[in-house]
Amino acid sequence: MFWYRSYKSLGNLNVMPNLLRTVQLALKSLMLHKLRSGLTMLGIVFGVFSVIAMLAIGEGASQQAQQQVLQLGATNIIVRSVKPPRETASQQNADSFVLRYGLKRADYDLLSKTIPTVIQAVPIRELVKACRFLHREMNCRIVGCTPEYVDMNHLSLAQGRFISDKDRREKTNVCVLASGTADELFQYEDPLGQSVKVADRRYTVVGVTRSREASAAIGGSLSGQDFNQDIYIPLETMRVRMGDLDIDRRQGSFSAEEVQLNQITLRISDIDRVMSTADVIRESLAHNHKGSKDYSVVVPQELLKQAEQIRTIFNVVLGSIAAISLVVGGIGIMNIMLATVTERTREIGIRRALGAKQRDITLQFLTETIVLSGSGGLIGVLLGLSTPTVFQLLKTLAEQFFFESGGASDFSQMFKDLVPQVVPSSLPLAFGISVGIGILFGLYPARSAARLDPIEALRHE
């Protein structure tokens, strides 16, 4: 009721011609107590800053996720071999030096043939090996793959061609170099037609890919891939020449791993069926692997859910900070304005004697409150624009204290990669909130000022 009457008494506002002057004079009264006004604004400053930061972090998380989903393919499901932890591994392979784990060719057959929504399945095998051309040598990631690999990873060719179906059938000794590999091994020579030596075998270079940005890591399940240090050869050639066994004799120790496939990328027919297909894939693989967790299933679309989680967490944390700051800030402003009204009772009496109506007084003190909270809002907006910088700073600090041990969970990884994106519309929104707080908490003091009896107010010492 009180509020209603207050707003109504402000009706018929026609002070626009002198509004600028009104604001100017309000500033003047506030400047009378600079420190007090400054401290009063702090709550609003933090509140507004929190609102903008909250939305910026949420936006950053979802943009990050969307970008990753786009990179990995929204209709893709990626199944990767994962080396099991030592204890379980030694139990399983107690009788052997060779560690066998990961995806089998049987898995590939199962997934590509028995699930109707899977329209394409691209298997790959990866090994890191030394590669040579003449006297130059480097460690490359050897990727045994199929022709579809190019499109799936958004690669394009700078020179020559990629692996073909014919290469697969005939198990030819050809290779395609990534741009980084080509630059390092060949420098100024033309690599096409030359041969690169990998594990004592020669492979003829038939193409070179353009360089491409590394893909982002997704938690522990899928590490980032730098596509620029690769050599691509036909999957079948790789199987015949290198086998499934990878023996590492470095430092005198002997360890061997047997992995048939490192990754199978599955394309699903319809974006709406990705999630349900993922369930089927998980079930089929669990059955095939008898509960051993030597693989992981990464569904890019699920990243969106993760981003949503991050968004929710920050919404709760920063939303609470914002709400508390704004309410506390508002109460602070109300408190100061009540004190101001008492201090300036005589001024109110003078104005009334000179012809000020009740609503003029209400409007004057309301203007002062709005100028106060609006200034706080403006500072908060400026701070809000620096959210990415502030976030980066906090992240650096947090990394030193919390993430030292390196055990990057999916969540902390996502947090690390997060870059807040200030949402443009959040700036006027947050500023509007600060003005709203000014009105809400300024109305009561302003009304009590307006209701003073003119004669009493004039007599006030």
């Binding site: 002070v15 000179l354 012809g355």
Partner: protein, 232 residues
């Protein structure tokens, strides 16, 4: 005959707890246009109460108060504000300037409360300059009240009272806080305003000040006890 202002048998009661205090007990005076009245009387006799009613700061408990042909005793709070803004200029004993404002801004205040809130434009600005020159403060426009002497502050208050060109000037002991030389200056200004045709009603304790008015009214216990100059 038309009057600048006319009070007809007005009474004012204040409630002091449950006991009514009868500050005015039936006062009738006519103020012709261009009148200059000094109201005198002992402390507590009801002078300020009468002046506040004349200034439309309050409504009488009973009786009529006419400004022009309008009855102030029946007006709403907003209408009282309009009357104060348009018809009346106040001068107080303690100057009552707004401390954080400059001379210019203080003189400007009544312009902010004009009916319909018209723009404060070139005309108004030159009027302010003219008034400041009239009271001899044209070169002090950006001074703040604390930088001025009492006499200078009172002259700012006079300029402020005049900015809306009111017909009636009300002054409650305007020279009460001033030395005799400054008192003469202020009274000179008031006499000049009276010659221009403005009606001036002034409360004062001092006979030499009251003597300058056209007529003197004595109050006692909330009624008019007599009229005329009673020296001593």
């Amino acid at each position: 005959m038309s009057f600048a202002a006319q009070v007809v048998n007005i009474e004012k009661d204040y409630m002091l707890g449950t006991v009514p205090v009868r500050a005015l007990r039936g006062v009738s005076i006519d103020f012709p246009h261009g009148d200059f009245v000094a109201i005198m009387g002992s402390s507590g006799s009801g002078k300020s109460t009468l002046l506040n009613l004349l200034g439309a700061l309050d409504r009488p408990t009973r009786g009529k108060y006419l400004i022009g042909d309008r009855d102030v005793s029946q007006m709403t709070d907003d209408e009282l504000s309009e009357i104060r803004n348009e018809r009346i200029g106040f001068i107080f004993q303690s100057y009552n300037l707004i401390p954080q404002y400059t001379v210019l801004e203080n003189i400007e205040v009544p312009l902010h409360y004009r009916t319909g809130y018209p723009r404060i434009g070139k005309d108004e600005q030159s009027r302010i300059m003219h008034l400041a020159d009239l009271v001899g403060l044209g070169d002090r426009m950006d001074h703040r009240p604390f930088q001025l002497s009492g006499g200078q502050q009172q002259r700012v208050a006079i300029a402020r009272a005049l900015v809306n060109d009111p017909k009636i000037i009300l002054a409650d002991e305007p020279t009460g806080n001033l030395d005799s030389k400054t008192e003469e200056e202020i009274m000179g200004t008031l006499l000049k305003l009276n010659k221009e045709g403005r009606t001036i009603i002034m409360v004062t304790h001092e006979t030499q000040v009251a003597r300058l008015a056209k007529r003197q009214i004595y109050m006692k216990d909330g009624v008019i006890a007599g009229e005329g100059l009673f020296p001593g």
